[in-house]
């Protein structure tokens, strides 16, 4: 059986092991041949911020895992325009090419999916 999954990521990186575990579930669902998309909202946009140095405080490099998502056929990563703007970020500050989505379009976008999971 196939379903379309959307993970909505709203938390900043290095919030304990939260993102590592969320990425584990993203990868597991993708490994079961399901279609997976990611939407980064609010502080979730910091997940892809360039220049992270997590080894300095004993954390794993979760941004690197986002870079590996392509291997799992996860190509659709979207970032909310307003979340970036509110944090003084531009797409060029992110470590991956992403598609931008306006806040007004988020609800409609979510309707395209069978399962929406918060991460």
């Amino acid at each position: 059986m196939h379903k379309k999954f959307l993970f909505v990521l709203r938390k900043p990186p290095f919030n304990g092991v939260s993102m590592q575990e969320t990425l584990d579930s993203v990868l597991t669902i993708a490994a079961f041949d399901q279609a997976v998309s990611l939407l980064l909202l609010d502080d979730g946009v910091f997940q892809l911020k360039n220049g992270q140095q997590p080894d300095r405080f004993g954390m794993k490099d979760t941004a690197a895992v986002f870079g590996a998502l392509e291997i799992y056929d996860i190509h659709d990563i979207r970032v909310e325009v307003e979340s970036l703007q509110e944090r003084g970020l531009k797409p060029r500050d992110l470590c991956l090419p992403v598609r931008e989505i306006y806040r007004k379009d988020v609800a409609g976008y979510m309707k395209e999916f069978d399962v929406v999971l918060a991460g």
Partner: protein, 129 residues
């Protein structure tokens, strides 16, 4: 309707655990079914057999164990999240030299694939916490 539930917050860390419990009770009481409850992230703390809150506070492991007896629902704890936090089932406990497992009655430990299966089987997936 068939539900898959994921619980990501601990019994003590927020009110979300109680919302999840009440939601599951309501769903079952209304005659719907719960295909599986998957405990992930801090949610694995629901499965600790030796949690001993004061008598006048909620004891979530016991609440879930009682619900399993009533409705035969499937309570699955994610193995990687559990081992990271020191919750071991009997086999793993004896392997690392602990006296016995930590898992409360009615829970079982398995992998994330169980959550994937639940999302595919269920009509609705609800995540708490």
């Amino acid at each position: 309707m068939k539900f898959a539930i994921q619980i990501n917050s601990s019994p003590t860390g927020s009110g979300s655990a109680y919302h999840a419990y009440r939601f599951v009770c309501s769903v079952l009481a209304e005659g719907h079914s719960v295909f599986r409850i998957f405990f992930y992230h801090e949610g694995i703390y629901h499965a600790f057999n030796y949690a001993m809150p004061p008598d006048d506070e909620l004891n979530f492991p016991k609440l879930w164990s009682a619900l399993v007896k009533q409705y035969a629902i499937d309570l699955v704890v994610c193995i990687s999240a559990a081992q990271r936090r020191g919750l071991l089932h009997t086999d793993e406990a004896s392997r690392v030299g602990k006296q016995d497992g930590d898992l409360a009655d009615g829970f079982r430990i398995s992998g994330l694939g169980q959550w994937v299966e639940a999302t595919l089987q269920a009509d609705r997936c609800i995540v708490f916490g």
